[in-house]
C-alpha cells in the first residue's frame, strides 16, 4: 500500500511536473518571437561602433557586414548613417495584432500565388501568417497578409525629384486613402466587409499639386489572389472632366515620371504569381531606426522637420540606423521584365512594422547591374487609436545609374473608419476640379 501510495504520488508528481513544464513550454513558444532581442551594433562590432556614431565613406568598413550593397554604395556616394536604437515588438505594433498572430499561429497555408489562407480554405483573418517562415513564399505571404492596420489616410504625400547635384527640381503632391477589406482586426466589420471577401484592399489617390495634375484621381481594387484576379482601376482626368477605365497592371511603368514603378510601391507590390522567390537566409543588418529623435514629417503641415538633414544637397537623408534581423529573399521574374532580379529585405517577425515590411529592396537591371534602391525611413510611432504603430515618414527610390533620386515624404493617419463607399468611381469626383 505504501509502495502504491509512493507510486501514485510519483505519478501525480510527474503529471504535475509535466503540466507545469507544458504550461511553461507553451508560454515560452508563444512569447518567444515577441521577446527575441537583436544585438546592438556595439555588441556586434566589439565596441568599435557605438550608438550615436556617424558612419560615412571613411569608416563604412566597420559596418559593411551589416549593410546591403545598395546602402554601402550610397555611403560611398555621400550618404551618412547615424547609429540609432531599436524598439521591442510591443512598442512597434498593436497588441491586438500580436494576439491575433498568436491565436492563428500554425493554421496558415500559402498557395503558389503567395496568398495565405487558413487550413480550411477560408481567407486569412489577420496577424502574421508564419512567425517562423521556412520558405521564401511564406516570408512573402507575411508581407502581403501581415499588415496591422484596417485603413489609412496619407496626406500630404509629396515627391521631390532630385537631380545628380542633389537639387530638388520638381515636386508633386497627392493624397492616398487605403481600405483593407479583409484581414481586419480592429475596426468593424472584423475579418472582411460582407461581399468583399475576394478583395484585399481598395485604394484611392488624388493628385493635389501641381495644378496641371490637380484633381487627377485614381481608384484601384487589389484582389485577394492578385495573380488570378488582377488589379482594376478607374481614373478621373481633370482636363477631360470624366472618369475612364485605365489599365493598372502596368507594374513596370514609372509612377508620374518618378524613379518608382508601380511594382516598386511599398517595396514590392507586383502579384507574386509572376515571380520566383528564393530565401537567401536570415541576417542581422542595419536598417533605419523605428523612432527618430524628432518626427521627420510634421503631421500638421506635411513639411519636413527643420532638423531633418541631408547630404549631397538633398539627395541622401540622414537617418538613424539600428541592427535588426531580416529575411533576405531573391525575386526573379517569370515574365519579361525590366528587372533581372530584386533583392528583398524583409523584417523578421519579432521586429514587425505597421506598414512597409521592406526596410529596403534592391533592383537589378537586365544585365544584372545594380539599378535602383528603395529605402524606407520609418521615423515615428503613431498612436492614432491608442495602439503603437511603427509608421513610415520617408521613402527614397534612388537610381544608381542615372544618379537620380525620388524622395517621398508623407504623413499618415491610421484607423480612420473608412468605408467601401469612400472608394467608388463617384468618390473620385470629391477630389476633382
Amino acid at each position: 500500500m505504501h509502495r502504491l501510495n509512493k507510486l501514485y504520488g510519483a505519478v501525480v508528481a510527474c503529471m504535475m511536473a509535466g503540466l507545469i513544464f507544458c504550461c511553461f513550454a507553451e508560454a515560452g513558444t508563444e512569447g518567444l518571437w515577441t521577446r527575441k532581442k537583436a544585438p546592438t551594433i556595439e555588441e556586434l562590432t566589439g565596441g568599435k561602433v557605438k550608438i550615436g556614431d556617424i558612419i560615412e565613406k571613411e569608416n563604412v568598413d566597420l559596418v559593411r557586414d551589416y549593410l546591403p550593397p545598395s546602402i554601402h554604395e550610397c555611403v560611398q556616394r555621400g550618404m551618412i548613417l547615424r547609429m540609432g536604437s531599436q524598439l521591442p515588438l510591443e512598442e512597434r505594433v498593436p497588441k491586438y495584432f500580436i494576439e491575433a498572430t498568436e491565436k492563428y499561429q500554425g493554421q496558415a497555408v500559402v498557395d503558389e500565388h503567395g496568398s495565405a489562407y487558413l487550413k480550411d480554405g477560408s481567407i486569412w483573418p489577420g496577424g502574421i501568417p508564419f512567425v517562423e517562415p521556412k520558405t521564401a513564399l511564406e516570408v512573402m505571404a507575411n508581407v502581403k497578409f501581415g499588415e496591422t492596420y484596417d485603413d489609412a489616410v496619407i496626406t500630404p504625400y509629396s515627391t521631390h525629384f532630385i537631380n545628380r547635384e542633389g537639387k530638388v527640381y520638381k515636386t508633386n503632391k497627392r493624397m492616398v486613402k487605403i481600405l483593407n477589406t479583409t484581414g481586419r482586426l480592429s475596426i468593424p466589420p472584423i475579418g472582411a466587409f460582407p461581399g468583399m471577401e475576394k478583395i484585399k484592399y481598395k485604394r484611392i489617390t488624388g493628385q493635389t499639386y501641381p495644378l496641371a495634375q490637380k484633381g487627377l484621381g485614381l481608384v484601384v481594387t487589389r484582389y485577394y489572389d492578385d495573380t488570378a484576379h488582377q488589379d482594376e482601376g478607374f481614373i478621373y482626368l481633370p482636363a477631360f472632366k470624366r472618369t475612364i477605365r485605365v489599365s493598372v497592371t502596368t507594374w513596370q511603368d514609372s509612377i508620374g515620371g518618378s524613379d518608382m514603378t508601380y511594382g516598386d510601391t511599398m517595396g514590392f507590390s507586383e502579384p507574386y504569381g509572376f515571380w520566383n522567390f528564393k530565401l537567401i537566409g536570415k541576417k542581422m543588418m542595419l536598417i533605419p531606426e523605428p523612432k527618430s529623435p524628432f518626427t521627420l514629417v510634421s503631421r500638421e503641415t506635411g513639411k519636413l522637420h527643420p532638423d531633418f538633414k541631408f547630404t549631397v544637397g538633398e539627395k541622401f537623408p540622414v537617418l538613424g540606423w539600428c541592427i535588426t534581423p531580416l529575411y533576405v529573399v531573391e525575386a526573379t521574374p517569370k515574365v519579361k521584365h525590366i528587372y533581372k532580379k530584386r533583392i528583398l529585405y524583409v523584417l523578421a517577425t519579432e521586429y514587425w512594422a505597421n506598414v512597409q515590411m521592406f526596410p529596403y529592396t534592391e533592383m537589378y537591371d537586365r544585365a544584372g547591374k545594380l539599378w535602383k534602391m528603395y529605402l524606407t525611413g520609418y521615423g515615428y510611432i503613431n498612436h492614432d487609436d491608442g495602439e503603437p504603430r511603427l509608421s513610415c515618414n520617408t521613402l527614397n527610390i534612388y537610381d544608381f545609374q542615372a544618379d537620380h533620386m525620388s524622395f517621398l515624404f508623407l504623413s499618415s493617419f491610421w484607423q480612420t473608419g473608412l468605408k467601401p463607399g469612400n472608394f467608388t468611381l463617384k468618390s473620385l469626383l470629391q477630389y476633382s476640379r
Binding site: 495644378l211 478607374f234 482636363a239 477631360f240 489599365s247 513596370q252 514609372s254 515620371g257 518618378s258
Partner: protein, 498 residues
C-alpha cells in the same frame, strides 16, 4: 478697361502678397487651413500655316496669326470638411490677335454673350478682353449622396475628343475651335445646374449608382467664331437676316445609371437637351434696299428683299450607353464603347425651297482601345523612358431613312454614314519633363488632321507646349474635317502655374 485692371491688381495682391498672412505651400497658395488658391498665367500664340479663310472674303490677304492670347486663371477652393467644398474658377483673358496681324479685320474675340440683365454669366467683356467667373459650384456629400450645385461642366460619356454623350454643355469654339490640348476643358461652357448622384449599396451589382442633372434655364448654344475671326466657320449672304431664337429659360435634364458586372463597367443614360448648333427656319421676307436681292423678279417685282430667318435650337432626346473592359496583364488593354441613339436629330431640310428643319434618327458610336506600351527600354540613350500611351479610336455616325432629304452646314450634302479613325501616341520621357505626342485623325471619306506636339515641363512652375495642326484631304464639304484646311497652324503656349 480700368475695371479689368483693378480686378487684375486685386487678384495679384491676393496671390502674390507680402510676407504676412499667406503661406505658399509648394506653388499652391494656402490662405487658411481650408482655403487655397492655385492657377496659371499663360501666353498662347498661333502661327497660321493654312490658306485664306474662305469665310472671310473681306479679309486683306492671308493672315499670319490665328491666335494671340493672355490668360490669368485662378482656382479658389474652400473645403472646411471632407463633405463640403466650394470651388470657383475666375478667368481674365486678353486677346491681341487683331493687334498683331493687320490682315485681319475687326471682330469680336469674345462673342459669348447674353443680355445685360442676365447676371448668370458673371462677366465683363469687350472685343479684346474678358473677365468672368467661369465655374462656381459647391459640393455636398452626405453618406452615399453627392450633390454639386452651381455653374459647372457636366461630362458624361467616356470617349476622348469625340462628342457622343459629352454634349450636355456647349462649346466655345470661337477662339481656337477644338484644338486645345486639354480637349474641351477650356472651351466647354459651364452652365448653372444641379447635379447629384447616389450610390445604391446592394449585394448584386458593384458600383450601382444613379445620377441626374437639371439645368433650369442657363442654356447657351455652341459659340462659333465671329465673322472676320481667323477660325470663322460660316459666311452667310448679306440678304439673310437671322434672328436667333435662344433657349434660355428652357430646361435641360438627364439621368444616368452606372453599374459593374463581372469586370464590365457600364452606364445607361437619357438626356433631354437642345441642339447646340442652330438650324435655319424661314420666317418671311422684308424689303431691304441695302442688302436685299430681288427674290420675286420673275413675278415682275424687282424690289430687293431680305430673307428673314430664325436660327432655332431644336429639342433632342438622347439614349446613351457606355461599356468598358480591362484586359489585364500581359495585354494591358482597355476597351471602351460609347453609343447614342437620337431619334430626333435636327438637320436642315434639303427638299424645302426655303430653309426649314427636318428630324432624322441618328446613331453615333465609337470604340476606343488604350494600351500603355513599353516601346523604348526604360533607360534609352541615358534617358529614362516611361510607357508610351497608345490610343486607337473608331467612330461612326449612321442616319436612318433617306439622307438625301437633309443637308449639313452651308447646305452641304450629308452621307448615310461617316467614319473617323483616331490614332494617338504619347511618349513621356526624362521623368515626364518631356512629353511628345502625335495624333492622326482620318476621315474615311479622305480627309485628315495630323497633330504633332510636345510639352516641356521645367520644375514646379513653368511648362511650354508646342503643337502643329495640319489639316488636308479631298473631302472638303462644310462640316467635314477637310473643310478646315484653312485652319492649319502651329501654336505654342508658355505657362506659369502656381
Amino acid at each position: 478697361m480700368k475695371r479689368i485692371i483693378c480686378i487684375i491688381w486685386a487678384l495679384a495682391l491676393i496671390i502674390f502678397p507680402g510676407p504676412a498672412g499667406v503661406e505658399p505651400a509648394g506653388a499652391e497658395i494656402q490662405i487658411t487651413d481650408n482655403f487655397s488658391v492655385a492657377g496659371f498665367l499663360r501666353y498662347e500664340l498661333g502661327v497660321h500655316t493654312g490658306g485664306s479663310n474662305p469665310n472671310n472674303p473681306e479679309q486683306n490677304g492671308n493672315h499670319d496669326f490665328t491666335l494671340s492670347r493672355t490668360f490669368l486663371v485662378t482656382e479658389w477652393v474652400y473645403e472646411p470638411t471632407d463633405n463640403f467644398k466650394l470651388f470657383t474658377k475666375a478667368r481674365l483673358i486678353g486677346d491681341q490677335t487683331q493687334r498683331i496681324d493687320n490682315h485681319l479685320r475687326s471682330y469680336d474675340a469674345f462673342p459669348i454673350d447674353v443680355s445685360k440683365n442676365d447676371w448668370t454669366l458673371m462677366k465683363v467683356d469687350g472685343d479684346e478682353y474678358r473677365a468672368e467667373i467661369w465655374e462656381m459650384y459647391g459640393d455636398i456629400k452626405a453618406g452615399n449622396l453627392w450633390l454639386r450645385l452651381g455653374k459647372q461642366q457636366i461630362v458624361w460619356g467616356e470617349m476622348i475628343g469625340t462628342r457622343i454623350l459629352d454634349i450636355i454643355n456647349p462649346l466655345d469654339m470661337s477662339w481656337h475651335l477644338n484644338f486645345e490640348p486639354e480637349e474641351f476643358e477650356n472651351i466647354r461652357i459651364p452652365n448653372w445646374a444641379i447635379r447629384g448622384s447616389y450610390l445604391i449599396e446592394q449585394p448584386f451589382l458593384e458600383e450601382l449608382s444613379i445620377e441626374g442633372f437639371i439645368n433650369p434655364g442657363d442654356i447657351l448654344p455652341q459659340q462659333n467664331p465671329d465673322s472676320g475671326a481667323p477660325f470663322n466657320l460660316m459666311n452667310l449672304p448679306s440678304f439673310m437676316q437671322i434672328h436667333k431664337k435662344h433657349r434660355r429659360d428652357d430646361t435641360e435634364y438627364g439621368f444616368r445609371l452606372g453599374y459593374k458586372v463581372k469586370g464590365v463597367y457600364g452606364t445607361l443614360c437619357y438626356l433631354h437637351l437642345f441642339d447646340d448648333g442652330f438650324k435655319l427656319e424661314t420666317e418671311g421676307f422684308a424689303p431691304d434696299h441695302i442688302n436685299g436681292v430681288p427674290f420675286f423678279a420673275g413675278q415682275g417685282n424687282f424690289t430687293p428683299y431680305a430673307m428673314l430667318l430664325n436660327a432655332v435650337y431644336q429639342p433632342m432626346d438622347i439614349y446613351g450607353l457606355t461599356l468598358n473592359y480591362d484586359l489585364t496583364y500581359p495585354y494591358n488593354m482597355v476597351f471602351t464603347y460609347e453609343g447614342a441613339w437620337i431619334p430626333n436629330q435636327p438637320y436642315q431640310d434639303r427638299l424645302s425651297s426655303t430653309p426649314e428643319v427636318r428630324d432624322l434618327g441618328t446613331f453615333k458610336w465609337a470604340l476606343r482601345i488604350d494600351r500603355p506600351t513599353a516601346v523604348f527600354p526604360p533607360r534609352f540613350m541615358g534617358v529614362d523612358f516611361q510607357h508610351m500611351k497608345i490610343m486607337f479610336q473608331f467612330s461612326q455616325t449612321i442616319r436612318e431613312g433617306d439622307e438625301n432629304t437633309v443637308s449639313g452646314s452651308n447646305n452641304s450634302k450629308i452621307d448615310k454614314s461617316n467614319e473617323m479613325i483616331v490614332l494617338k501616341f504619347t511618349q513621356p520621357f526624362d521623368h515626364n519633363n518631356w512629353e511628345p505626342m502625335i495624333q492622326f485623325v482620318y476621315d474615311l471619306d479622305d480627309a485628315y488632321m495630323i497633330k504633332p506636339g510636345f510639352k516641356r515641363t521645367c520644375g514646379d512652375h513653368w511648362y511650354f507646349d508646342l503643337y502643329g495642326v495640319f489639316i488636308g484631304g479631298a473631302e472638303t464639304r462644310p462640316g467635314r474635317l477637310g473643310y478646315l484646311d484653312y485652319a492649319s497652324e502651329i501654336f505654342g503656349r508658355i505657362t506659369y502655374q502656381f
